[in-house]
Symmetry: C2
Subunit: 636 residues, 2 copies
């Protein structure tokens, strides 16, 4: 239970080869070709697609790349892309055939036999199916003579051929055994095509499968494709259905990722490759019930322990330095928490109010941070095995002989995630590590009942990775997403939770990575506690000296104009610093504390009726108030 | 001629008020309301639009904001926005009228009399013109009773009212003196509406004008508007034509900027405000010939000294540390340059080859950088006065009594820009500061002839600012823009030049601000020299020991496949490390040196026929090669 550094080491490659082979296009990740191959192998991929510009810029000869891949245990499944082959100008077709022969030379040295040919995008693209088929047939004859096969792909923005139905029609007419199809989920789903028709394509003509997810964006499809693709499970495409169709058709090649993403292109490739492979493992699991029994057996070879059923937060752990610990403890006490336990071997205090448990770990680095969360589940061991199968970096905890064997995994932002079965009699109850202080139990009044949510500011490079991590490991689905105009730049929020809403997590990130302007920490992390009477808790907390955040009068004047709460309620909210949000389902009343120890604060929330949001609209007001607080304190 | 820090101090506000008033919406820039008002005043704006969320999050009362603005010399020209007023539900209209009265209270305390009301975007927006007009009339009656006027604006994504023609029709029918129009260039031009019709709207109904530019993007107009607006002159809208129509109609209110931009929202507001005001000064100049003579007089009150006519680069200056200077000097010598002059009072060497002049200033910080450029113009004094009128931070140069009075301005990235009249007999010739070394003149052979271009990597926050800076000061227009997939992330390029192509400048930036992965300096700056025989220069340079950058064989194999240059040419290029690009206009042959002193390198280019590009397609190959070079040298 120490503050962990942001993990960068990738887990070990999976040992025995699974039956579902996974591949990664080198274009998905950042770095030189050598960086990319190393990262793909370290993440456990079986193969790669070599993206031509990566090879062209490399000082390694194709033969050296082949040798390096062999050493790394990577097959080279595809060489790509070959663009704008078909053309109405005969002399250009001749030049393109020459160009292809030169590329076949390269492929021969690489030791790969499959090349991706995209449909033409230029004004001189051929319009007639038979004529395209004839030109592709010529290419296939040349390829076959070299022992090479051609996978033809319809780009969504192809000049003439831009649907998989049309590319299949052309391939069918060309009728050459060395010519087949590459189907790419982005090109098909971005156009709204129905992928069910893929089931009707003969398996021996499905040469290759490229997978990519994407957020639903209303923009030019080429720009959408080149900048905003995501790994499966990070976007909105129904990839289990798509993959189900392709596997049901009999495709038995690798599941290969081709994702163009502005962030992934410049992030640490070792991390991105792990994220990528995790997405395929989760996709294979989600696709199992979409395929015939025969195929199901193949997918089952990658089977994961089942998704855990969660039962709320066991605890949130704050790592603080010795200087910050008193302010944290005093604030928890003023909120009504009791210091009810002390760890047997570590400087960790256990604070409790109702079912809300906060651990204050004074062995932390300077400042304060949310270092860990514990979630309740019936079988922590199975949950941990699932997490490890999904390539989560494990953080085995050192523990004394009488202490629980408690293990955690590290989330993309370095937060540790513990799987807990609180109250169990056996050694898996983490509570047995704590000695009761005997200084009383909680007051039993109408105060704080449990942890409502934890809010974690994400590193810029891992916002989408985090969503997939929590979804895969904990089954947390995106509940809603929002974007708010904060004082120092736009902030993107994504709230995830289990189906029963017992574990809610708010992830946030700047829309653009921040520069030097603005506070060094623009959006600290926080833990939000639930109550059934936020006004009473706020009043008691203020009376007890809690540093409740002051909210400006302008906010209440605007609230009056917008939502017109009853005047006496408005007056009490104004007095206490309680904020309000309202939607069609209900209301949300909440207050914040000041930022403590540099990077953490608390929130207390009351949900009225069916309100399921997080009051994000009030976020900018809170951020400006925190900014004033910290400016007064002399922080940057 | 020292390396300057990136300037952050804004220039002083303009002294006497001009007749064309300029205003800035607080939403354009980053920070708290207090930060924004300070920045607007420091940049010399006459007034502001107060964006409601900025006020709501502020702890300053409206009366305190009024007082602060008065102290800063800023008028509050508009309070905005008031959204979703008209509604088919009578009870909502009543609530909205109450909401408006509360906002009128705020405006009274602010001391402003104009409120922006946007067309409704909700499903319950009113569809019938007469009914909208009736509701707006009710609002106008209430406003008039408080001494307030309402400026009604058609949002481009308004549910029913989304064109200025429709908003004018509604305002016309409402027929109340307290109700007029706000016209916003983005909402009108993003939809492709013809703004000429604005001329037919009575001047007394044009209550307010909001100006924004934007790049041409094929995407959802709401997202386009909220994230990608730019200041006038940074995008592709014809704003001089637009403003010409509005002024010709008789509008005499402020020119006010309302720009939502992800970068500006999180950049230093003092810099952004200067950029913003510069855009209006340049726009006023560009609009002068679009308006009737009477209005022209008003615009002339902001008249700038004329755009300079450029005649090429006078010099490029490299600032180097003592450790790097020998490598720089040796490389220039190996390229054929002669050390032909020494500064009278500073450790600056003058190197020359043909008309290419490079100053090597050994008083620089660690490493090396392009510290300054000098451009030739007939009247350096007028060019400097124009630059200062356009708010460029001046960098007066300390000089001895016998030295030229040479002044520079600082570009957004800190590069100094000198205006030079080389060869003049008077003291304005900067060359008189240099004592000839007598070590010979240039060889007079077919080597380097002049500086072809200078390439400057821009700080992330100032890419668009830089384009406007060089356009405004030097008349450099965007020649072309491109985006390349570089090994460590996407890179955006924008080449600007004068009409005669004597001063070409390449600006580049990462598409996203980079994080920690990848080399610390991913894209060093460079100076490119022109030659008529790049192969000869490359051969001589290699023979003389210049560190010419090695280009991998894979590149030449790909070049053979793609462009099929004659085999003997290809062989020589491969031997010498010369690269090739080809387009419809001609060919481009070029080679690079290694990176010297950490952040600078040289390029030698040969343009064949009408080729006007910069070989950006070869950029990723160059970047990967530089990465290998620096990895060998142990740099990060």
């Amino acid at each position: 239970m120490t503050v962990s550094a942001r993990p960068t080491a990738a887990p070990q490659p999976a040992g025995p080869a699974t039956h579902v082979r996974t591949a990664l296009a080198t274009v998905c990740i950042s770095g030189t070709l050598e960086d990319k191959l190393d990262a793909a192998a370290a993440a456990g991929f079986d193969g790669v697609e070599i993206f031509e510009p990566d090879l062209v810029a490399s000082s390694s000869s194709p033969a050296a790349v082949r040798s390096r891949c062999a050493d790394l245990g990577l097959s080279i499944d595809l060489y790509q892309p070959f663009r704008d082959f078909d053309d109405v100008r005969p002399e250009v077709v001749e030049a393109n055939l020459r160009r292809a022969e030169r590329k076949f030379d390269v492929m021969e040295q690489l030791g790969t036999d499959l090349v991706l040919v995209c449909s033409s995008c230029i004004p001189t693209a051929v319009a007639e199916d038979d004529r395209i088929a004839e030109q592709l047939h010529r290419l296939a004859v040349r390829a076959a003579a070299r022992g090479i096969r051609v996978a033809y792909e319809a780009l969504a923005w192809g000049r003439e051929v831009n649907t998989y139905e049309r590319s299949w029609e052309v391939v069918r007419r060309a009728d050459h055994p060395a010519l087949g199809l590459c189907v790419d989920s982005f090109h098909i789903l971005s156009r709204g095509s129905d992928p069910a028709g893929i089931r009707d394509i003969p398996a021996d003509k499905l040469f290759f499968l490229q997978l990519a997810d994407a957020p639903m964006l209303d923009m030019d499809v080429l720009q959408w494709s080149r900048h905003h693709r995501l790994f499966p499970g990070q976007g909105t495409f129904d990839l289990p259905a798509f993959l189900g169709h392709v596997l049901s058709a009999g495709y038995d090649g690798p599941l290969s990722l081709e994702v163009f993403n502005d962030v992934f292109r410049q992030s640490d490739p070792r991390r991105t490759a792990v994220d990528a492979r995790r997405s395929l493992l989760a996709l294979a699991e989600a696709t199992t019930d979409r395929v015939p029994p025969a195929v199901r057996g193949t997918l089952a070879s990658t089977a994961l322990p089942p998704e855990p059923t969660l039962r709320g937060y066991a605890f949130a752990e704050l790592a603080v330095d010795a200087g910050s610990a008193p302010a944290l403890a005093a604030t928890l006490a003023a909120l009504g928490f009791t210091h009810s336990g002390q760890h047997r071997s570590k400087p960790v205090q256990l604070w409790r109010y109702g079912a809300a448990t906060v651990l204050v770990n004074a062995s932390g680095r300077p400042g304060a941070a949310v270092a860990a969360i514990g979630v309740e589940t019936a079988d922590p061991g199975a949950a941990l095995r699932r997490a490890e199968a999904l390539l989560a970096p494990a953080h085995p905890q050192p523990h004394g002989p009488a202490e629980a064997d408690l293990s955690a995994v590290a989330a993309p932002d370095g937060t540790e995630v513990f799987f807990c079965r609180t109250g169990a009699d056996d050694a898996t109850s983490w509570l047995s590590d704590f000695v009761p202080t005997g200084t009383g139990t909680d007051a039993g009044d109408a105060g704080i009942t449990h942890i409502d949510h934890v809010a974690l500011t994400q590193p810029f490079d891992s916002f989408d990775e985090a969503a997939l991590f929590y979804r895969g490991l904990l089954g947390l689905r995106t509940q809603h997403a929002s974007e708010v105009a904060a004082p120092f730049g736009l902030v993107r929020n994504r709230a995830v939770s289990d189906a029963a809403r017992t574990v809610r997590l708010c992830l946030s990130v700047s829309v653009l990575r921040r520069g030097e302007w603005g506070p060094a920490v623009t959006d600290p992390q926080h833990v939000a506690f639930a109550t059934d009477d936020v006004l009473a808790v706020a009043r008691a907390a203020r009376a007890a000296g809690a540093p409740v955040l002051d909210i400006p009068d302008n906010y209440y004047d605007d609230l009056d104009a917008r939502l017109a709460p009853p005047p006496d309620l408005l007056a009490r909210m104004r007095e206490l610093g309680v904020l309000l949000d309202r939607d069609a389902d209900g209301e949300f009343l909440h207050f914040y504390t000041e930022v403590l120890g540099g990077r953490v604060f608390f929130e207390v929330v009351q949900r009225v009726a069916g309100y399921a949001g997080y009051g994000e609209l009030n976020g900018p007001v809170r951020m400006a108030a925190h900014r004033r607080q910290r400016a007064r304190a002399g922080d940057r």
